[in-house]
């Protein structure tokens, strides 16, 4: 069945024989240096007993497959003696040989992040830790099942690929595992020469502003009166200078690169690697590409990191590459149906699927194909059980909940949410040097923190910390940049202005200055700047306060269109130290110079002298239009009074701001030292309340079900069985059944009554005995005995009383119960034949009831 066509095949192997000999001799000398993270630990022993039987033995189909693979291998070895052995039937964790395609188990897990290839790839890269191949130029001896790999969270690159490929196939991608050769960095998962992806500047899609169409009457720009020649000369000089600096920079960069270049790898081209190939077609993949399962990144099929391909496989077939890979994978084609380039193991069925999905849709061919396919051997189903990942494992994501990746001049640490107490999930440290000793910035990302801190960045040079917060804080803080948390130092705070009642958007502080900007205020204020003087002591309300006196406050306002421009204040400057107030109004339409007024505050009343009276000399100003009516003194005076009041208000506002800063800083300090993590109400594993609530609900549901079941209990069944009556009842039988049932119940009630009665009798009897005994002996009794006796008596009396009560209750309720049962039976579906009801005539019913009561009373009387 499987016959290799005799095709002249070039030497596909990347290294010629003599080279290989050289290599082999030198191989023993090479010591492979592992990065710390990938030290191979001994594999945990397989709990073989737990493995399903398909893991431990081969089915007949699989055996046949193995035989065919062996046949293929022999032919292949014969035809291509120079090529390396293929990975066809490695042993699994139970030491059973399995064909590689059957190790793939296509699975779609119920996590939305695993529905696309990016999610799958990054998940696999995060979830597993790498075990290096040993030696690095040999195929692994063992290929574990994906379930096993996911359980141990460890595996070789082959295990990674098998898991990733299984997930991708489940998500509907046309995915293949590729066995081949790659560069050292790729095989060893060494990213220390790559830039950290988090550091790469995010590409902003610059939507170019649509150029304004040249309007018909646009004015011409004023004539440029500069010499063109001079400008050109200048430009030339500038360009030269720029070129020089650029060259220098390039040189420096080149030098730097050369210094950084790794020593040549003696094993280049021999290092075995396994990755995933995604072919275009399914799920809107426009072009073929590779995914490296170790990093989860995608590469183009011509990427120079991939040096050669031996074979590819999916869950249906296995193809061996017949193309030359001397120069990497540049010119490879991935048309697996092309027999001159790819050699398949199983002929037939998969070709049609892969080469052209359209042929499948043609109904005419289908029958013929089916006829053919009947003879074709199909790949046996996967021996692996379904892949399952628990939500908890999914959340932990990294082996042990954390993972460290080293990049060029950067170190990335990832943690599972809720793993660390302070909510840290990602930490990126960038360094100034290649050896990663001097940190330059430390960037941390947090999740679920109760103080809503999202991101923190520390620049070690300037010692500046910046923090970003998510919305939800009571102080609406959005961003905070600071050196220390001490008040009255340099800092910047941004706020979610739409949440705040005062519309504060930003507050920038310097040692002697505070600037606040506002948004969307009803009083149109958008800017306030306060300048302080040296700190002095102020005694207020008996307390000595260190306070910086205000020297100058500047406020700016947007235009309020309800007022005329010349009356609408644009800027107010309170020069507190000079006792001056400066008011500038908005520009009128078509004006370029605003009107302004300068006030000098009159002196307040002091001990010796009266308050200074207002005089027109205290005001000066400029009026744009000399023809408008000047302000009257009254207006000016009123304005001044208003401004003085405003000045007081402004000072209060500023002091409030300072207070707020202090309170924010102290709360930040507290939050940082003692962080709680918030737990969403939708997180049942962590939210205790929610879980309890859920359990309660479940329990209720269960109980309800139980009750439902009880309700449906068949009352008639026992009697029916006992009487040996058939399922379908005649009216005679039904009557019989009913009376039987009722009688039985009546008997039960009697029994209960008599039981209680007998207990009462017993207790009374005992009490009487005791009393007799007491009467006989009470003269000779000790005090203790007497106490005992009295205690017993009261006890017994109590018990008797209880029993009597129970009896009375029982007697009261027994007829009701009896009637209820009768009612129920009347409606019982199996007895629901009119005759039955009629037969049980009213008097007899009544009689029955009376008798019951009588009997009960009788019992009691006894």
């Amino acid at each position: 069945m499987e016959v290799l066509p005799e095709v002249d095949c070039e030497e596909d192997v990347t290294i010629t024989d003599d080279e290989e000999d050289d290599e082999e001799s030198s191989l023993s000398n090479i010591r492979i240096t592992h990065t710390v993270t990938h030290i191979a630990k001994p594999r945990p022993q397989v709990a073989l007993s737990k493995c399903p039987s398909s893991y431990k033995e081969n089915s007949s189909q699989e055996k046949l497959m193995a035989a065919m693979a062996e046949n293929f291998r022999q032919q292949y070895a014969l035809l291509y003696p120079d090529r390396k052995a293929l990975l066809l039937c490695p042993v699994n964790e139970c030491s059973v040989q399995k064909f590689v395609s059957t190790t793939l188990r296509s699975t779609l897990l119920p996590y939305p992040e695993l529905y696309d290839w990016e999610g799958c790839a990054s998940f696999v890269a995060d979830y597993l830790s790498l075990e290096l191949l040993d030696p690095p130029f040999e195929l692994p001896k063992q290929l574990s099942s994906p379930t096993w790999v996911l359980q141990t969270q460890r595996g070789t690159c082959f295990d990674f690929s098998i898991v990733l490929c299984s997930l991708l196939l489940g998500a509907g991608y046309n995915a293949y595992c590729v066995s081949g050769y790659a560069t050292k960095e790729m095989c060893l998962l060494d990213q220390s020469r790559q830039e950290c992806p988090l550091l790469q500047p995010q590409i902003q899609d610059k939507t170019e502003e649509p150029k304004k169409p040249m309007k018909k009457y646009s004015v011409k720009p004023p004539r440029d009166l500069h010499s063109n020649f001079e400008r050109r000369q200048e430009e030339k000089q500038q360009a030269e200078a720029e070129a020089a600096t650029l060259k220098k920079q390039l040189d420096a960069e080149r030098l730097q690169k050369e210094r950084e270049r790794p020593p040549p790898d003696p094993l280049r081209g021999l290092r075995v690697h396994c990755w995933v190939l995604l072919l275009s077609g399914n799920r809107e993949i426009p072009e073929n590409f590779f995914i490296d399962p170790l990093t989860g990144k995608s590469y183009s099929t011509t990427d120079e990191n991939f040096l050669g391909i031996e074979s590819v496989w999916n869950h249906q077939n296995y193809w061996v590459n017949k193309q030359d890979c001397t120069f990497g994978c540049n010119e490879m084609t991935f048309d697996l149906g092309d027999l001159s380039k790819w050699e398949y193991v199983l002929c037939g069925q998969s070709l049609s699927i892969i080469s052209d999905p359209k042929t499948l849709e043609e109904p005419e061919d289908e029958e013929e194909e089916e006829m053919d396919e009947l003879k074709v051997f199909e790949m046996p189903p996967s021996w692996v059980t379904t892949i399952d990942i628990s939500p908890a494992d999914m959340e932990m994501r990294y082996p042990g909940g954390m993972k460290v990746i080293e990049y060029r001049k950067a170190k990335l640490e990832k943690f599972a949410p809720y793993l660390l107490k302070d909510g840290l999930v990602t930490k990126l440290t960038t360094y100034k040097d290649l050896d990663c000793t001097k940190a330059s910035t430390i960037k941390e990302w947090f999740k679920h923190r109760s103080d809503h801190l999202d991101e923190r960045e520390l620049h070690t040079d300037s010692n500046v910390t910046t923090e970003h917060f998510r919305p939800g804080r009571s102080d609406a803080l959005k961003y905070h940049r600071y050196v220390t948390l001490v008040p009255e130092t340099e800092r910047q705070m941004d706020f979610y202005s739409h949440i705040r009642t005062d519309g504060l958007a930003r507050r920038i502080e310097k040692p002697f200055e505070m600037t606040e900007t506002f948004e969307n205020r009803t009083d149109f204020l958008f800017y306030r700047n306060a300048v302080y003087g040296k700190q002095i002591k102020v005694i207020r309300a008996g307390e000595a306060l260190e306070q910086r006196p205000l020297q100058r406050v500047e406020e700016r306002f947007h235009r309020d269109h309800s007022k005329p421009a010349s009356k609408d204040v644009a800027e107010r400057i309170f020069v507190v130290s000079d006792r001056r107030i400066q008011v500038t109004f908005h520009l009128e339409d078509d004006r370029i110079i605003p009107a302004w007024l300068n006030f000098i505050k009159p002196k307040e009343a002091a001990d010796s002298q009266k308050a200074q009276a207002f005089t027109p000399q205290m005001v000066s100003g400029f009026q744009v239009d000399p023809s408008t009516k000047p302000y009257t003194n009254l207006q000016l005076y009123e304005m001044l009074v208003e401004l003085m009041r405003e000045e007081e208000n402004v000072e209060l506002h500023i002091r409030d701001s300072e207070k707020e800063v202090r309170s924010i800083l102290s709360s930040r300090e507290k939050e940082d030292s003692n962080t709680d993590l918030l737990i969403s109400i939708y997180n049942p594993t962590r939210n205790e309340m929610a879980r309890l609530h859920m359990e309660e609900k479940e329990r209720m549901a269960k109980e309800k079900k139980q009750r439902q079941k009880e309700k449906e209990l068949d009352l008639l069944a026992p009697s029916q069985v006992r009487l040996g009556l058939p399922e379908v009842l005649t009216s005679q039988d039904a009557l019989q059944l009913k009376t039987d049932c009722l009688n039985e119940f009546k008997q039960q009630l009697f029994n209960k009554a008599s039981l209680i009665q007998s207990r009462i009798e017993k207790e009374t009897e005992e009490l009487q005995k005791k009393q007799l005994w007491y009467q006989k002996n009470y003269l000779t009794m000790s005090n203790e005995d007497e106490d005992d006796y009295l205690a017993y008596c009261s006890d017994a009396m109590f018990r008797i009383h209880v029993l009597k009560m129970r009896l009375i209750r029982h007697k009261e309720r027994a007829p009701q119960k009896y009637l209820a049962l009768e009612e129920k039976l009347k409606r019982h579906p199996r007895l629901e034949s009119g005759e039955v009801c009629r037969m049980l005539d009213h008097p007899s019913q009544m009689r029955l009831q009376f008798r019951l009561v009588a009997v009960l009373n009788h019992g009691h009387v006894i």
């Binding site: 004015v219 011409k220 004023p222 520009l587 110079i593 003194n633």
Partner: protein, 520 residues
């Protein structure tokens, strides 16, 4: 003092002065205002209560008054309030007013109180559309229908009718509630849901019918408005009444001879085709007029946006320069005030003056540049718009010429028919009876020819008139537009130049003052 025994008074100067002084600013502000004297125009509130006033007088100075209280007087007529157009609040309660009148000009009025008067009819308030609060309590209103008058006040929320004869009526409250659905307070009380419901159920149909009528009226008004707008558009395009047979109709309207001639045998066919052709030509003019109008509007708009943009741009630049200068100047002044050395100060002052001159130059050159730029585009615009108008005029003239041709043709045919008929009449060959009017004409050739040409002349005159009207109007529109643009620009330029001069001279004066004070 018992005010009731006082003589009835008329508002006079003395009373006003006293009231203003009493009610004006107090304390230091009062002193200042007394010194300065109070301008009646600036007073915002005035209270003239309990003064036994009989006649409102002397109030025309108070143009910015917003609140006026004339309660508790003996006023009999509302008068003399025409100039108080800014009034928002007017209190005329406790007077002897019988008729609502003289309030038409107070369109900003929101709160009107006529409590405790002798009013029997609510009327003459149509212009007061901003009314929020109305008080007619303790009056003599006896007809519930008066309430319907209040439906036109869309903002009315509070109404007081307590103490009127209508309140005795059983259905008073429900009636008012049903017909004034936006009312919130009636007679000192909040209208609750229950009252509303009962009122609505009771008067549902009546109110609905009324609403229906109002809606129809409104729709009719809207339709009228739309057609007016359309007509205005046509007028703006100078082609009104050319989209139909109006021109033709007007030609024949004032044409007594034509009417008679129309009765000539054989004229019918002629008169059938003629209006159609005429109308087609008119419609051509009309369509061209509308499209041309749209083009012209677009052109004008484009010109205005561009020129406004340029002006705004320039203004921003100039304002920036001025602001920079001003801030540096202030700093300089503060610095200079601390200089004690006279010579150094002198140096500083002169350098500042130089800078001021420089600023004036910069701003002026910027302004000149703008003037140049605007002049350029204005010239372009002038050329384009006159080209457009010229083209349109040419086209219209062509069509009017066709109209005249048509008329000439018509005239010839008419003449032919008339002469032929005359001949027949003369020869007595005519079969039909001729009406008497016609018989009068068909006396001899001259009379007939005269009549026909008289009709022809009337027609031509009409056409000429229409053409002339169109041409004069479009030309006057164009020249008016261009003139207004030019005038605006000149005004703007003057304003800017005077602004710059004013500012620079202010700066220089200030410096001069400083120098003077230093020398002393």
């Amino acid at each position: 003092m018992n005010w009731q025994q006082d003589e009835p008074k008329v508002i006079d100067e003395e009373m006003l002065k006293q009231a203003i002084e009493e009610q004006g600013p107090q304390g230091q502000a009062g002193d200042i205002s007394k010194k300065e004297g109070i301008q009646y125009e600036d007073v915002l509130q005035l209270r003239l209560d309990y003064r036994n006033i009989l006649k409102i007088f002397h109030l025309w100075h108070f143009t910015s008054l917003t609140k006026l209280q004339l309660d508790n007087n003996v006023i009999e007529r509302i008068e003399g309030l025409e100039n108080l157009t800014n009034l928002v609040w007017l209190d005329l309660s406790f007077n002897n007013i019988q008729v609502i009148e003289g309030l038409e000009a107070l369109v900003k009025l929101q709160d009107l109180s006529l409590f405790n008067n002798r009013i029997s009819v609510i009327e003459n308030l149509d212009t007061l559309q901003n009314l929020h609060i109305l008080s007619f309590g303790n009056n003599a209103i006896a007809q519930l229908e008066n309430v319907l008058y209040l439906r036109k006040f869309k903002h009315l929320r509070t109404l007081n009718l307590a103490g009127n004869p209508i309140c005795e009526e059983e259905s008073y409250k429900t009636f008012v509630t049903a017909y004034l659905p936006d009312l919130v307070y009636l007679d000192y009380r909040l209208l609750d849901e229950q009252t509303r419901e009962t009122a609505n159920t009771k008067y549902k149909y009546a109110v609905e019918a009324m609403q229906q009528n109002e809606l129809q009226e409104q729709q009719a008004m809207e339709a009228q408005k739309i057609s007016n707008e359309e007509l205005q558009l046509h007028k703006d395009a100078f082609v009104e009444f050319l989209n139909g047979p109006q021109l033709f109709d007007s030609m024949f309207d004032e044409d007594p001879d034509g009417e008679k001639l129309a009765l000539l045998p054989g004229m019918e066919a002629l008169l059938e085709s003629y209006p159609c052709k005429m109308e087609a030509l008119c419609v051509q003019i009309f369509d061209a007029g509308l499209t041309q109008h749209a083009q012209r509007t677009a052109e004008v708009e484009s010109f205005f946006t561009c020129s406004h943009e340029a002006v705004a741009d320039n203004r921003q630049k100039a304002a920036q320069i001025a602001a920079d200068f001003e801030s540096s100047r202030r700093q300089k002044i503060v610095e200079m005030q601390q200089i004690t050395d006279v010579e150094l100060l002198e140096d500083n002052i002169s350098s500042c003056q130089e800078q001021a001159s420089q600023l004036s130059e910069t701003l002026m050159s910027l302004e000149l540049q703008l003037v140049d730029q605007l002049e350029d585009i204005f010239k372009d615009f002038e050329r384009n718009i006159s080209d457009m108008v010229g083209g349109f005029i040419e086209y219209v003239q062509g069509i009017f010429a066709q109209c005249r041709d048509l008329e000439n043709q018509h005239h010839e045919q008419q003449l032919e028919i008339a002469l032929a008929t005359l001949e027949k009449v003369v020869k007595n060959e005519l079969e039909e009876e001729i009406p008497d009017d016609m018989a009068m004409l068909l006396v001899d050739k001259d009379t007939v020819t005269n009549a026909v040409s008289a009709s022809h002349d009337t027609h031509l005159l009409k056409i000429d008139n229409r053409e002339d009207e169109l041409l004069t109007r479009i030309n006057s529109w164009m020249s008016g537009l261009l003139k207004s643009i030019h005038d605006e620009e000149v005004k703007r330029n003057r304003k800017r130049v005077s602004e710059i001069r004013n500012y620079v001279s202010y700066v220089k004066d200030e410096l001069e003052d400083m120098r003077m004070s230093e020398h002393h």
